[in-house]
């Protein structure tokens, strides 16, 4: 099995947790996996990306632009950017349909991106599109909405819901774990 997943969002959205959970879940499922995050100025609201590569043959943790099998995005502008830089045609896009305006949009220098823009692009390139708009109790849990969708739709072969749960248990504890697991499970049941 070979699956390259590109994750994109902005700082503070929990990209790191999302990608580490997927990496660990794949590991629990017995898959060979590696990945890399771009941290940089992540905590200050800048763009954050993460590469996840599942499969025996991946040497480097970096995905070639235009060759990702799947893009996960936590925001609309970033979804479009991920779609147009990393996703291959006929790939899969999963994104959380919230809009966080970049500065230039806020200053009126650029027009904001809409869900329609993304759908149009997806159709043109035969991309399978999952727009996640599920309400979450805390904006910082939008990443779990994405994770739940991945698990419910079985978008990564041989990674089962219990593997994601094991990964969450590796990384979180106490009340935070409980809240995230509850949300994850409720999305599975959607």
């Amino acid at each position: 099995m070979k699956l390259d997943i590109f994750v994109i969002g902005v700082g503070g959205q929990g990209i790191g947790l999302l990608s580490e959970t997927i990496i660990r879940a794949a590991d629990h499922a017995g898959l060979t996996v590696k990945g890399v995050d771009t941290h940089g100025l992540a905590q200050r609201g800048g763009m954050v990306t993460s590469h996840i590569r599942i499969g025996e043959d991946a040497f480097s943790p970096l995905i070639m632009p235009g060759l990702a099998d799947m893009v996960l995005a936590l925001e609309i502008h970033e979804a479009l950017r991920g779609l147009n830089t990393y996703l291959k045609d006929k790939g899969t896009l999963v994104y959380y349909s919230v809009s966080l305006q970049p500065l230039n949009v806020r200053l009126g220098e650029e027009k904001p991106v809409t869900i329609d823009d993304i759908s149009r692009e997806c159709k043109k390139r035969s991309v399978k599109e999952y727009a996640v708009s599920r309400e979450v109790p805390d904006p910082r849990m939008q990443n779990i909405a994405i994770l739940g969708t991945l698990a419910r739709e079985r978008l990564i072969d041989s990674v089962e819901p219990r593997h994601y749960e094991m990964a969450l248990e590796d990384l979180l504890s106490g009340k935070v774990l409980e809240l995230n697991l509850n949300l994850f499970r409720s999305i599975l049941a959607d």
């Binding site: 040497f59 045609d89 305006q101 390139r125």
Partner: protein
Amino acid sequence: MRMATERAVLLGNEAIARAVVEAGCEVACAYPGTPSSEILPAIAKFADLLDTKTVVEWGTNEKVAYEVAISASFTGKRSCVAMKHVGLNVAADPFMSAAQFDIEGGMLLIVADDPGPHSSQTEQDSRLFGLFAKVPVLDPSSAREAMEMVKDGFELSERHKIPVMLRPTVRVDHCRQDVELNDPLRLERPAKFVKDVKRWVCLPAHVKTTHPKLNQKMDAVREEFTKNFSKYNFEVAAQEKPKLGIIAGGISFAVVMDLLAKLGRKDISVLKIGTPHPLPVDLVNDFIARHENVLLLEETYPVIELQITDRRNVKGRWNGYVPRAGELTPEVVEELVCKALGETCTRDADEDLKKAIEELKITPKPPMLCPGCPHRASFFAIRKAFPDGIYPSDIGCYTLGVNQKTVDTSICMGASVTQSSGFYLAHKVDGQLRPVVATIGDSTFFHMGLPGLVNGVYNKHAFVLAILDNHVTAMTGGQPHPGTGQKLRKGDSGRIVPIERAVKGCGVEFVKRVEAYDIDEGVKALKEAWEYAKDHKEPAVVIFGHPCMLLRQEQPKVPVRVEDETCVGCKFCINFFNCPGLVFDESSKKAYVDERFCVKCGVCVNVCPHGAIQVISEEGK
């Protein structure tokens, strides 16, 4: 975190840390800096887990950390120091000098480079520093290899009595993969410092023998690298007559191997070099002799290339065939390989893909200070107090004060203070005086702000230094510093070094602490400080205190809204306060509060020149 006995998925930096503990290192120091920051806390974590006695400390800067660590090596202990590449500039003095010593215990210098750069002021190549100091360098291509190199590095260091550099790049530091875990070496070496002036004192007379000896060490290490390190230096031979030979070091090797698989090429051979200095030059020469067409891929400077005896047929960074700057990402490598083969690159990607992003123009979201960040308020006060000031700044979150037009310069750690002196003097020559207000963070102040402040007092330079005290080293992920008194391990407390006392100890007479959120108080203190500085011809210091938002300390909630009828749509708040919680609505031409981001710090109430930002009272008005 799960901790298997044999294997675990670790971050590259954690893998390196694990190997450091497994190698029996007993003293480890560092100053945080992306992409190296996770190494030291992980050393502490694994040392505790494996019950080793390893001492782990944040130094106040990289030079300090280096000198603390290497002294442990003088006593026979294994020691290690970690930093980011620009940290080695700060530690260059001991690094250069101590390279000539016959150290006793193994010493590993871990320098994390940042090709790109992703979060640094340069993309300098530490391997070149290794060449400069005559220190052996190991360049890992993966986290797994980095772990092995840590252990070999300590042994190499002890065999040749010289510090060894491990040079991971950001992609190795921040990659996650499963790695093997082993038991730690328990060396049981009591500290034993044997006095020996010729060995431990760098008198010029001694250098006459130590420098030639260092050269001999390099020859011996080169021979080892050539003969005994085929696990790091090896050839992946082409299955057919090679059309191209690629020499690759570090992560570039992994990228090349992915590319060959993708292209399905059998006519390209690859020579991997994991020991770039001293270069096993015979291996490289032999490879070059067998290939007419050689492409050399290394990050970020031409360090292997410069050591090659005859590089006329080598396409590399030095001769400009490979771009002289920037990260060698998969797409860059693909283009270079295709160019070297004389073939057109065929990308699988749809042509639409390139066009689309241009059509729907979206630029990457620039980083901003967090909502509620005390620096934003401090910068606003600075600009309000001195609209015509010069604003030298420093390295940290607050460099993002550029968004508020209150950061005019930033060179390197501590330069805000010394640049203030320079700006003062340059104007003084012409008989002029301009307000100069420098900003520096609390951790950066302890790192390298102190010498500049002493210099300003001693030489009588008039400027205002604003120390932005958010009680943490925020940019690198929240490490403690002397002003906090906390040490790396939780519950291991050091002694607090109060910033006020440090400032006064430098000879500064005017020191005032203000609450950073209180813009009026800040403006008043800044004006007083400048009056004092002008009158007395000396630096005056204002400390803006308020905890970093990332520390998530409780604070009063002051909900605010923008009154539509008062907002004139001037965008002053967006331009000069620049908070993610204040957004401009193009259709109504008014600003509004974005509740998703607003943390209700209430500071912006004092920002709008028209008074349109108002506190929402309890009745909901």
